[in-house]
């Protein structure tokens, strides 16, 4: 653990004020935060005199935000740290998978190096939690899992992480379930899945096997679902039913879930209620080429919505920055969040929940006792940070500066 110190002169939000026309603005003040054993143990106004002899680090008036959660990535797939390479065009998903399969072994020798480059990038943008899916398939076996695990272990003092065993080339194919079991014994924390209709061609069996693995290993679930329209919707609906039956509430997530935005609104509402009741989560990468799940509706109904950058700069696509805050900016632009409070409250999708202020303007973060995990940015408030995506000046994880400088 680090020696106790004061993080001085950090800008924290203290409330909303309304101007003469009723528009909201954010009030901020400068504070000193005492950090000990990875926690904020004391929060004082900057007029407070710190005793001489105590350690300090100057926050330089920068705004503090809770650190971010990257909730959908594929650390094993990226080309980062290799020479530039554009993906090969594919006519359809089948061809895309074939192209990936051809490349997997070639990339396997550099998995740890590539994953580390991705982790560095994510960390530099303020994510201190990473959920990574890792291919478990007949071509690569467990080799990518080993590389990703080794990379993440090296960063275990800088972030927290979860690894999802991901049957990218189908769960119901020969020998994949035994491989998945081996993966769950070898460091994977969650059971993954993929398009029970489109890939596995047996919705019920595919979901059943996922649930089976989860219960066998007492693990949470996070499945990829690109299947669109009503077949995707049915899949989510069926999945919710199985989650309820297995009493796996609060332990299951659906990633992408484009289909939820492709059914009529009454059905969106119905499924949102069910997902909420089952404590399930939706992970979105905020695509601009696909339908989005109805993030606002899901959020209003109490479904946990998280964001991720997805695998990027890999055989699937050349773009991507690893910046979860930029994903929120994109969300704001897509959903036309442009007033102070809706911008500010959107930050929760990056942090996985916490925002400095509640919608009513009560201070919710940071409070004494909170983990000392903060991102420092050159902005005047959360709303500005969401709209303008400022550079991350420093990232602190449990009291330790893990990226940038102070």
């Amino acid at each position: 653990m680090t020696t106790p110190y004061w993080l001085t002169n950090v800008r924290l939000e203290t409330g909303y004020i309304q101007d003469e026309k009723g528009a909201f603005e954010t009030k901020t003040e400068l504070f000193h935060l005492k950090i000990e054993d990875g926690r904020i143990v004391e929060k004082q106004s900057n007029s407070f005199t710190i005793q001489t002899g105590e350690n300090t680090k100057d926050g330089k008036g920068l705004l503090a935000l809770p650190t971010f959660k990257e909730m959908h990535n594929h650390l094993d797939k990226t080309y980062l740290s290799l020479d530039w390479k554009a993906p090969i065009p594919a006519k359809n998903l089948e061809e895309r998978l074939r192209l990936e399969a051809m490349e997997l072994r070639e990339l396997a020798s550099t998995t740890k190096q590539r994953a580390s480059a991705m982790i560095d990038l994510l960390l530099s943008h303020g994510s201190t939690h990473i959920r990574s899916h890792v291919n478990i398939d007949p071509y690569i076996g467990l080799r990518n899992l080993e590389g990703v695990k080794a990379a993440l272990e090296d960063y275990s003092d800088k972030l927290t992480y979860e690894i999802v065993a991901f049957p990218q080339h189908g769960l119901l194919r020969e020998n994949v379930i035994p491989l998945m079991k081996e993966a769950m014994r070898s460091g994977a924390n969650l059971v993954g899945g993929l398009d029970p209709a489109g890939i596995d061609r047996n919705i019920e069996k595919s979901l059943y096997e996922v649930m089976n693995l989860a219960t066998e290993f007492d693990a949470d679930i996070d499945i990829h679902l690109h299947d669109n329209g009503h077949v995707g919707f049915y899949t989510v609906d069926k999945f919710v039913e199985m989650v309820e039956e297995a009493k796996w509430q609060n332990r299951a997530a659906v990633s992408h879930a484009f289909s939820l935005g492709e059914v009529p609104v009454p059905q969106q509402e119905e499924i949102a209620d069910k997902l909420s009741k089952a404590g399930m989560s939706i992970m979105s990468t905020i695509p601009i080429t696909r339908t989005l799940p109805p993030i606002d509706l899901l959020d209003q109904k109490g479904v946990n919505v998280y964001l991720g950058c997805d695998g990027f700069y890999d055989s699937w696509g050349p773009y991507g920055t690893g910046d979860v805050l930029e994903k929120v900016t994109r969300y704001g632009e897509l959903y036309r969040r442009s007033d102070e409070r809706s911008l500010a409250q959107s930050l929760k999708f990056a942090t996985g929940g916490p925002t400095p202020l509640t919608n009513e303007g009560e201070v919710a973060w940071p409070l004494e006792g909170d983990a000392a995990s903060l991102v420092l940015v050159n902005a005047t408030c959360s709303a500005e940070a969401v709209a303008r995506t400022p550079k991350r000046e420093a990232v602190i994880f449990k009291g330790k500066v893990v990226s940038g400088q102070l």
Partner: protein, 412 residues
């Protein structure tokens, strides 16, 4: 320094192929002699000379960028953060806001415009087309601020100023003001939605083109009206362009309706626009149907990107980073292989790319203006996909440097 060598520059040389598929881009290290704003020599042999040298350190050289649709007169950029107010009456909420806001912003308008120009320069632009409010609230005062700001930067960028009747040419009775603007520094006649805003398509277009002809200038119209209404307006605009003899000098900004029409209708529309060489600018919006940029390009309609806003009372989003915008364009249209990523650059450079479709170097050539930028990438495709940083910028041979003395935030 009128003559110097830009040494150790990475230039694209050709494509790499695998069975006719373009797999990568070949580059080579060259040395460029720049004289009187032009590139006068390109060689692989390191120059043995007393003349000044600038070392490009193997960075990639690309043509500098153009923002073809921005409003530098109307921005919060450079001032304190301000979110937008909630919309209650659509576009009219914003127009009403301008009545109070424009006079309030006026004292710092030039200063903010200059900060925006600085941002553009830093991001590799050496050309800006800005739409400047000309309306009964602010009269010609924003134009004055815009002209003054741009004049200060004449040595490092070229520009066009569109006299923009934001509050409606007819609706706000701004015809006379636009005429005056054309005599006071505006270089194009602007307009906005002849149907929805002016409520008289023919009269609005007629007046715009009349003013353009009087001043021998082109036009650039904001057209947001959707589907058939927008399409009809484009057709009438093309007709007026023809009658006014303004072929090649008319621009549609936004052109939302181009995203609403498909198939034969789109092909016909493209032919109509092509005949009058009407070009299109777009912000590549992600929150509405985007116009089909690659399809328009295929039909030989010139498409350029612009940021429209960096942060103002219309939108808090915006970066002024065209390389980023080109990446979003590519992502949006799934342009992800080497060739299509590489080609995407043209939407930000006025059509210029280092290689043509055959993979031959067409830029830079001896005789070209030395308006260019060095970026941190191995090729154009990587620059677009991976959002390369711009390391230095040259305008007609001159290295672009900041003119800002201090960077205090502007008070509004």
């Amino acid at each position: 320094m009128t003559t110097f060598w830009l040494v150790n520059v990475r230039l694209e040389k050709g494509f790499k192929y695998d069975n006719h598929r373009i797999t990568g881009t070949e580059t080579e290290i060259c040395h460029l002699k720049v004289e009187d704003g032009k590139i006068v020599e390109i060689t692989n042999v390191y120059p043995n000379t007393e003349e000044g040298q600038v070392d490009a350190c193997h960075q990639l050289l690309l043509p500098s960028l153009r923002d073809m649709h921005i409003h530098i007169d109307k921005t919060y950029y450079g001032g304190p953060w301000k979110a937008c107010t909630p919309l209650t009456k659509g576009i009219f909420t914003r127009l009403e806001e301008e009545k109070e806001l424009l006079p309030k912003l006026l004292p710092t308008a030039q200063e903010r415009a200059e900060k925006m120009i600085e941002l553009y320069l830093k991001n590799g632009h050496t050309h800006i087309r800005t739409h400047c409010n000309v309306d009964p609230v602010i009269g010609l005062k924003n134009l004055e601020a815009t002209v003054n700001a741009l004049k200060k930067y004449e040595d490092v960028l070229s520009y066009e100023i569109v006299a923009f009747p934001q509050h409606g040419l007819l609706k706000s009775d701004s015809v006379q003001l636009i005429r005056e603007a054309m005599k006071n520094g505006a270089t194009l006649v602007g307009g906005v939605d002849p149907a929805t805003v002016d409520r008289n398509i023919e009269k609005s277009l007629y007046t715009i083109f009349e003013i353009a002809v009087e001043n021998n200038k082109g036009v650039d119209l904001h057209l947001h009206d959707p589907n058939t209404l927008g399409a009809y307006t484009f057709e009438r605009m093309a007709q007026y362009t023809k009658e006014a003899g303004l072929k090649g000098r008319a621009t549609i900004s936004h052109g939302i309706a181009l995203g609403d029409i498909q198939g034969e209708a789109l092909i016909e529309m493209a032919a109509i626009l092509k005949e009058q060489e009407i070009d299109v600018t777009t912000t590549v919006p992600i929150n509405r149907a985007t116009i089909p940029i690659p399809t328009l390009d295929k039909y030989d309609i010139k498409v350029s990107v612009g940021h429209d806003s960096i942060t103002d009372h219309w939108s808090p989003f915006g970066t002024g980073n065209t390389i980023q915008k080109l990446g979003i364009l590519a992502e949006r249209f799934r342009l992800s292989d080497e060739n299509s990523l590489s080609t995407t650059l043209k939407y930000g450079t006025g059509g210029v790319t280092p290689l043509n479709e055959k993979g031959e170097r067409v830029w830079p050539k001896v005789g070209d203006d030395a308006s260019m930028m060095l970026v941190n990438a191995s090729c154009s495709a990587e620059a677009v996909a991976r959002r390369a940083s711009v390391e230095s910028v040259f305008f007609k041979g001159k290295k672009v440097e900041s003119k800002l003395i201090e960077s205090n935030s502007v008070q509004v």
